[in-house]
């Protein structure tokens, strides 16, 4: 139609658009009407005939065809249907008809209805195959396993041939029919009605909610070419749990695999508040009504009492227990063996624990496939350390067994198999009833009981033979098994009279396992005669009349029994004398012999018989050349050596004893073959530090000769005591000490010397500590001559306490020390000398001094006691008495003619010519001898001439310019003034020169030659006049202030006493703290020499 429409539409595009559009629409409507008309005509034509033929089949044998009736046909209208299928067959039918299935291919079907005839072409391909709706025969539930069982009939008998059937089953849950699962199930139609079963296990307990089941099918017939369709769903059948009003939780006591999921529900009429798995909260899934469920994922292994799942309502809790565990592991290390060839015991290891106990625990069944017999494993009621083992009774004439051990629990099963030849797996029981019987002294029979039927096999038994103080011996014995379980063997090569301990274990051949050792059986073998005579020695008594015979008890191996007695006999060439029997344990006998050469014989006897005799000669050959030697052992023994002597035909004998014991002394002896030249003497009796005497005898011509005598120690030790020493004599410088020997018992070694220490020290202070530390104040004397018993210590100090220490030493070490304090005597001569010498020296010094003083008395006098001029002789110094006493302001001197005393003027060397008017030659030379030392040109003696001085003061410029010589009076105290201010000296002097000048006239230093003047001033410190007020200052002459204080003209006392050599001590002035320095200095004596 569209094509037509498009074809019609194409030309219209050529016309004017508007007009053309209207025309086109019109044509389109016209054509539509035309078409509808035609269709209506056709339809009305159809409706007047049967039409819409459809055929379906549900069994492939009959087609159920139907068609639409022509309009106007009533319900009961009859049709004639004819099918052209080779045989023209027609049926008179009503509306629908069932026709047998037609063969493949087109078939013409004619339906006549009255006058109208409809023809159809019918092919199998046009036929639909819709199976009949299946019907559920039965739906049942196993609530314990939450399994639904469905049963239905496939009605296969109606189908002509075999066909595959697909059944689709749907499971719905809860009242709102939620689809839980849709599954298919395939079967085959076999021409018969077959009832099918199908089961489904729900993940939710069936009690929790109503479950519905429906089914439909689809028959896949390969030969049918038509359209195949699913059948309709069957009617739903449901399963629900008829609960009482009680609340219940499902599933109950469920056993599940660890790690799996499970749904637990609570069927209740109460409101569930929460759900707990153990102590863990779990979200609720609401089901119908108040029922709830929880889903547990990946559950973990339960404890033995299971995992509790509880649902809590308001005032109660309901729950269930789930047991999560594992299926049984494959039994491991399955092993089957027999103890006695009567019963087989199979053991195994269960492997991984299943976490299931009680009735859920693994059960084991052991089955033997050849015999078909099985045994079940039963657990003990009280659980212990389970040993998994099963006993299986052996079958006669069957050696090979094929065992299968099956393990089973609610979660599964496993098995392990073992093929075993039991004759090769014999693990015998422990031998019992071990008995021993004598055969002779070296052989016994050993019997034991070994339960089992070993008649057909061989046994390998092992006998352990233990002897006291000996290594155990194992003997293997192969024997044929017996039926009565009693076994007997002979054990030989034993020692007589020896305690043996026997025990036995057995295995079979071929070897599989040893049995456990039997209990030990102790047995003493019978006695035999002693195998040899006792080891003998003899000693002559100290008086030489009796011979003492010694012998050693025989060892157990030699005695072969209990020694009861000894027979001692002596024989000579003439006779044999038998002495009385000596009972054990006495091991010596004393015989009185009248001569020396007897042969002594000793025989040991036990209950069986006597030993071979042991003989020894009584003769002792003297030895004159005998020295006592020393020897030291090795701690546990002592080595003795000697030279080979071919004359010694029989054994050497070394006997020894403790040296502290009296003779005859015998501790033990040892016999050494004659070809030996050394032996080590060892004994448990040896003790370190004990002195022993060793005697080496050689055997010659049936007599013994003492060859060597040795004293020795097996080990030397340090002495236990110090030597006891005393002081024999004491002098002022020496001490004589004497000491005693240390007893041998306390010496404990060979004495090697003494160490003598001495030092100064009092009893209470000196401890003589650290003698070996090499203290320098300790003197040590090592006395290696052990025969020395005295020592004189010399070069000591008199009347001094000395600490003396003495100790002895051996090679074993130093002994203890003994100390003593001794005070040397006083040295009287020295004391006298010590007094006399200082006295003599003092006398000599006094005499010499006196002589010298006497001889130099003049000089001393001059130096220390010079004559002082008497001022009274000086008229110039005669003050008017009234003036002196009345006014202190008037201090001018009245220049009277006077005869001056000596005035010495020292003139410094100057280039400037001296002023003639100041040159006064003193008529008196006070020290002629000294004056010769002074150069004439420098030494000017001037007389006192005040006017001239005043002129010089008034004209200082001329003084400077001309450098005229001047007279300067320097008092004794201010002799250092020029040093303080040398440049101001002239000015000061000028000021100072205003007053009284003393008799001692010092040279005037030129201003040009200051430095030279300084020196001279130092040297010219002599007597100074007392009236110089400047210098009467209180300051020290050393003080700089003394030079500065010249501005203050201070009168400090009477100017009348000018003839004094001393200052008149002014009254103490508090403001002049330096007055202390103003005193007289002794050094001035020596500076004021006449020649200065």
């Amino acid at each position: 139609m569209m094509d037509i429409f498009l074809c019609l539409k194409q030309p219209s595009r050529m016309v004017d658009s508007k007009r053309m559009r209207m025309t086109s629409n019109f044509q389109w409507i016209l054509l539509t009407f035309l078409l509808l008309y035609l269709m209506n005509q056709v339809s009305s034509q159809k409706k007047r005939t049967p039409h819409d033929l459809k055929c379906v089949t549900n069994n492939l044998q009959v087609w159920d065809c139907s068609w639409r009736a022509p309009s106007g046909a009533g319900r009961g209208a009859a049709y004639e249907v004819c099918i052209e299928n080779g045989l023209h067959s027609c049926y008179r039918l009503e509306k629908n008809t069932k026709i047998p299935a037609l063969s493949p291919g087109d078939h013409e079907v004619t339906i006549n209805f009255g006058s109208s005839i409809s023809k159809f072409t019918l092919n199998e391909k046009d036929v639909s195959f819709i199976p009949d709706t299946p019907e559920i025969l039965n739906l049942s539930a196993d609530f314990s396993t939450s399994t639904l069982h469905l049963k239905w009939n496939d009605k296969g008998s109606v189908f002509p041939r075999h066909s595959n059937v697909i059944w689709e089953i749907k499971i719905l849950r809860k009242k709102n029919m939620e689809i839980v699962k849709i599954m298919t199930h395939n079967t085959t139609l076999n021409g018969k009605d077959t009832v099918h079963h199908w089961s489904w296990t729900s993940d939710m307990p069936l009690e929790c909610a109503t479950h519905y089941v429906g089914i439909r099918c689809y028959i896949d017939d390969p030969k049918f070419s038509g359209h195949k369709e699913w059948s309709n769903w069957s009617l739903l059948k449901n399963i629900s749990w008829s609960s009482d009003s009680q609340t219940k939780v499902f599933p109950q006591d469920k056993v599940i695999l660890v790690g799996s999921d499970i749904t637990v529900c609570c069927v209740t009429q109460e409101k569930v508040l929460l759900a707990l798995i153990g102590s863990t909260n779990c979200p609720l899934i609401h089901l119908d009504g108040e029922n709830v469920a929880i889903k547990i994922h990946n559950i973990s292994a339960s404890e033995s009492s299971g995992t509790n799942v509880v649902f809590s309502v308001e005032d109660n809790m309901f729950g269930t227990v789930i047991f999560a565990g594992y299926p049984p592991d494959i039994p491991q290390k399955l092993n089957c063996e027999t103890y006695d060839l009567k019963e087989i015991v199979c053991t195994w290891n269960p492997g991984r624990p299943t976490s299931l106990v009680g009735p859920r625990n693994t059960s084991y069944t052991l089955c033997e496939s050849f015999s078909g017999k099985c045994v079940r494993y039963k657990r003990a009621e009280v659980p212990t350390n389970e040993s998994y083992q099963l006993f299986f009774q052996m079958l006669s004439n069957q050696e090979i067994y094929n065992f299968t051990l099956n393990a089973r629990n609610p979660l599964g099963q496993s098995e392990s198999t073992l093929l075993v030849n039991v004759t090769e797996k014999v693990h015998p029981h422990t031998p019992t009833s071990v008995k021993v019987k004598d055969i002779n002294s070296t052989a016994v029979t050993l019997s034991w009981h070994l339960p089992g039927s070993f008649a057909k096999i061989k046994l390998l038994c092992q006998i352990e033979i233990n002897k006291t103080n000996s290594v155990h011996e194992l003997r293997n014995i192969t024997m044929k098994g017996v039926e009565n379980s009693s076994y007997l063997i002979a054990v030989d090569k034993l020692n007589p009279y020896t305690i043996y301990i026997f025990r036995i274990r057995c295995s079979t051949k071929p070897f599989w396992k040893w049995s456990k050792w039997s209990n030990e059986k102790q047995y003493l073998t019978t006695e035999a005669i002693p195998s040899k005579g006792p080891d003998t020695w003899r000693e002559w008594s100290s008086d030489g009349k009796n011979l003492i015979i010694y012998w050693k008890p025989l060892s157990i191996n030699e005695a072969n029994g209990k020694i009861l007695s000894y027979n001692v006999s002596c024989s000579s060439d003439e006779e044999t004398q038998s002495l009385s029997e000596i009972l054990d344990p006495q091991h010596k006998a004393e015989i009185q012999l009248d001569k020396n050469d007897y042969i002594i014989s000793v025989v040991a006897k036990n209950s069986v018989g006597s030993s071979p005799p042991s003989k020894i000669a009584s003769m002792e050959i003297p030895n004159d050349d005998l020295k006592i030697e020393q020897a030291v052992g090795m701690g546990n023994g002592i080595l003795l050596t000697w030279n080979y002597d071919p004359n010694m035909t029989c054994d050497y004998v070394i006997k020894w004893c403790n040296s502290s014991r009296s003779e005859p002394c015998l501790m033990d002896w040892k016999k050494v073959p004659s070809n030996s030249t050394e032996t080590v003497i060892e004994s448990d009796q040896f003790r370190p530090g004990v002195r022993y005497n060793f005697f080496l005898y050689g055997c010659r011509n049936q007599g013994y000769q003492l060859l060597r005598s040795i004293i020795g120690y097996v080990e030397e030790l340090a002495p236990t005591v110090a030597p006891n020493f005393t002081v024999e004599d004491t002098s002022a410088d020496s001490i004589l000490v004497r000491w005693e020997d240390i007893p041998v018992e306390e010496l404990r070694g060979f004495l090697r010397g003494y160490l003598f220490y001495f030092e100064k020290g009092e009893r209470d202070t000196s401890k003589m500590r650290g003698l070996e530390s090499g203290r320098s104040d300790i003197k040590v004397k090592n006395i290696t001559d052990i025969s020395q018993k005295t020592l004189r210590i010399v070069d000591l100090q008199g009347k001094t306490s000395y600490h003396l220490v003495l100790r002895a030493y051996t090679d074993g070490g130093m002994g203890p020390e003994k100390s003593m304090f001794v005070v040397t005597k006083e040295n009287s001569v020295g004391l006298i000398i010590a007094i006399l010498i200082p006295v003599a020296v003092a006398v000599i010094v006094g005499v010499v001094t006196s002589i010298l003083c006497y001889r130099k008395r003049e000089w001393i006098k001059e130096t220390f006691y010079p004559d002082i001029p008497n001022p009274e002789n000086c008229k110039a110094l005669q003050f008017q008495k009234s003036v002196c006493e009345g006014s202190s302001a008037l201090k001018t001197l009245e220049m009277n003619p006077c005869t001056p005393n000596n005035v010495e003027v020292l003139e410094t060397r100057s280039m400037v010519p001296k002023t003639e008017d100041t040159e006064i030659i003193s008529p008196v030379a006070e020290r002629p001898e000294d004056s010769s030392d002074v150069e004439p040109e420098n030494h000017v003696v001037v007389s006192y001439c005040p006017p001239v001085i005043e002129e010089e003061i008034a004209n200082p410029g001329a003084d400077e310019a001309g450098g005229a010589s001047q007279v300067i009076y320097i008092d004794i105290q201010s002799m250092y003034q020029p040093q303080a201010k040398p440049e101001e000296e002239p000015e000061n002097d000028l000021v100072g020169g205003a007053g009284y000048k003393p008799q001692m006239h010092l040279p005037v230093t030129s201003t040009v030659e200051d430095l030279a003047a300084e020196d001279d001033l130092d040297k010219t410190a002599g007597y100074r006049p007392q009236a110089n007020v400047n210098t009467w200052n209180l300051v020290s002459p050393d003080s700089p202030r003394s030079t500065d204080s010249n501005s203050e003209i201070v009168s400090f006392g009477s100017p009348c006493s000018t003839n004094s050599r001393q200052f008149l001590i002014p009254p103490k002035d508090e403001e002049s703290p330096k007055s202390s320095g103003g005193g007289w200095s002794f050094t001035n004596f020596f500076q004021n020499k006449p020649n200065d």
């Binding site: 006591d253 102590s279 033995s304 009492s305 299971g306 509790n308 809590s312 809790m317």
Partner: protein, 202 residues
Amino acid sequence: MKVLAAGVVPLLLVLHWKHGAGSPIPITPVNATCATRHPCHSNLMNQIRNQLLQLNSSANALFILYYTAQGEPFPNNLDKLCSPNVTDFPPFHANGTEKARLVELYRIIAYLGASLGNITRDQKVLNPNALSLHSKLNATVDVMRGLLSNVLCRLCSKYHVAHVDVAYGPDTSGKDVFQKKKLGCQLLGKYKQVIAVVAQAF
């Protein structure tokens, strides 16, 4: 021997219960003869008191041991899982006469003995490794057996009561594991509560 006793005694008690279940509790008429197999102990009441004190002193420990062995959430939900609301538990009146108290004590001990027998049996299956619990249960059952004998002796010798009808608790053999656990816990909770009152009354 203990195992045998633990199995046989509950069985006998259960058989005994079948005869008297649901019936009133008659006491032997006064004129009925009453004979004990062995002479009663001279100081019977003291023994009864001591046995009650012994039971009372161990009841709490047994209770704790029991609910601990049942696993979570028992220890933390004792009020809901172990509440002592045991139906048909014989009553006890502390202010009754000695005879009445002894009769009631007999019924209680018989009830408890049977129930503890059930619990012991169940726990041996359920908790085979809880040896201390088994031991304590067995010891308690043993003391109860002795107490029951003493009480009967006392009733017989003094009050000439030769037979007392008793009632027993529900048999748990057919119940699921959780029910067994819960009933056992409830019974032991009740036992702990009752034995304190009974011990005080004597």
